[in-house]
């Protein structure tokens, strides 16, 4: 090969959440204007789950968003697009070759990666977190140009490093997962997609018969939170509390951030179809998100002063219960909306 350089004219836009940002940018590449909140909403990004039996960096695991690839997969499915997802490769070399073939054809390709060895990523966020997403859109010699929506600008990464992060090991190992859009559905029905997405989100947050998911999960977390100081001592309790904030704020905008994202999705949809109920729901969601943020600030004070908690854990727990109820109100409201046009 003489000409080793290929670049696709792909526009990098910074976003709050890696996967919905990547999805929104991919839509843009194929000429569809779709904002990040819209992609996030249609892709069912909103979620909550609390998994106390799993530990991530020495503290219980919780997630404020859906499993990796849900946003891309669902938004494509609901909009009826022609897309491809390769869940895993057998061979590392093969996964890189497939990426090269795609780039040669001029297809920007999304990938799931682990962040621990991601060379350009902020060092303080490099933990073993395997659910990050980025889009490759060019190759220059041995280096790939990737668009990571967390960063302000497109980044360069060497072939070896990219291979390593694509084959990061551990929980939720990406195994070289790749996804891309083949072609656009000409008669795309955004309205029915939103209706389906709303229904699914309501189901996942409220109706799944499992106590650690959705609204029930937040209540469970609130109950556990109260017991932490007695059970583990103040130091550990404060560290666990810090974990809620780290999961909710740092790793890709997180809890409050996701609630804001979803709220602006509801607002956008409400304005598009002039639906009053949706507007009310978006307002409620915004208020719930503000409450999440207050919770964060209060808990952060506890984390600063580890051995002597400034805020009472019982109070924080009550606050979480209240947030769960606020969110439930939103989903109850959304549950009643059957048709967007009224």
């Amino acid at each position: 090969m003489e000409n080793n350089t290929m670049m696709i004219d792909y526009k990098h836009r910074q976003a709050g959440h890696c996967e919905s940002g990547a999805t929104s940018n991919l839509f843009k590449f194929y000429g569809i204007e779709m904002s990040e909140p819209m992609a996030f909403g249609i892709g069912n990004g909103l979620f909550f789950s609390y998994l106390p039996f799993l530990k991530l960096q020495y503290a219980p695991m919780m997630s404020f968003r859906n499993l990796p690839n849900t946003v891309f997969h669902r938004s494509m499915k609901y909009l009826g697009m022609d897309y491809t997802v390769i869940k895993k490769f057998k061979d590392q070399k093969e996964s890189m070759d497939a990426l090269d073939r795609n780039l040669e054809k001029g297809i920007p390709t999304g990938m799931q990666v682990g962040v621990f060895n991601l060379t350009f990523f902020p060092p303080e966020y490099r933990m073993h977190y395997n659910m990050h997403n980025l889009v490759a859109f060019g190759k220059e010699g041995n280096d790939y140009w990737v668009s990571d929506t967390v960063m302000e600008h497109p980044q360069k990464i060497s072939s070896e490093d990219l291979q390593r992060v694509r084959w990061a090991k551990g929980a939720f190992a990406p195994k070289g997962k790749m996804y891309w859009i083949n072609s656009v559905n000409p008669n795309m029905d955004v309205k029915s997609a939103i209706e389906k997405a709303l229904k699914k989100t309501v189901y996942e947050m409220m109706k799944v018969p499992f106590p650690l998911n959705g609204v029930k999960g937040i209540h469970w977390l609130a109950r556990d939170l109260k017991k932490w100081p007695k059970k583990h001592g103040n130091e550990t309790a404060s560290f666990y509390l810090g974990q809620i904030i780290r999961m909710s704020e740092d790793f890709g905008t997180g809890g409050a951030g996701f609630r804001y994202l979803y709220g602006s999705f509801l607002k956008e949809a409400a304005e598009k179809y002039s639906n009053q109920d949706l507007l009310i729901a978006s307002d409620l969601m915004g208020k719930a998100a503000n409450r999440w943020r207050e919770f964060t600030y209060m808990s952060a004070r506890n984390c600063k002063n580890r051995s002597k908690p400034e805020e009472d854990y019982g109070k924080l727990s009550e606050m979480l219960h209240e947030i769960a109820d606020m969110e439930k109100e939103v989903y109850l409201k959304l549950d009643k909306i059957k048709d967007l046009n009224g």
Binding site: G16, I245, N290
Partner: protein
């Protein structure tokens, strides 16, 4: 969000990346701004890294004193538990735990050492010496 030179960070490399943050809801409007993380986030990040650094330092002392094998140090340095390490290196978890003893570590075959070195992304020489 505006106090960029807050003293919450010991290390200047923290918090120098600007991100798009969805951070406000007021008067029916959702605001998204490009900026730095707020005080609360930085506090908890600092808290996490304090703990990690303490653990790494403790592990280093232990290795220096001959109470543990270098695997413990690198395990803490890459922020993994024996369970994770077992997945990363492809070695059974009870064997990983055994290899944390210096005596057992000395007898390890090159093949096993290579597996560890690959999992930690370092060379064999680095694995045998903790600086």
């Amino acid at each position: 969000m505006e106090d960029e030179k807050s003293t919450g960070y010991k290390n200047q490399t923290y918090g120098q990346y600007r991100e798009l943050l969805y951070s406000e809801y007021a008067d029916g409007k959702f605001e998204a701004t490009v900026g730095y993380h707020g005080e609360a986030d930085r506090t908890t990040l600092q808290q996490a890294w304090d703990l990690f650094n303490d653990r790494i330092e403790a592990a280093r002392q232990k290795v220096k004193a001959g109470e543990a094998s270098p695997i413990l140090y690198y395990m803490e340095k890459t922020l993994v538990t024996p369970m994770d390490l077992s997945m990363h290196a492809g070695i059974n978890v009870w064997r990983v735990k055994r290899h944390l003893k210096p005596k057992v570590f000395k007898k390890l075959s090159e093949k096993t050492l290579k597996k560890y070195a690959e999992a930690f992304n370092i060379t064999l020489g680095q694995l045998q010496n903790v600086d």
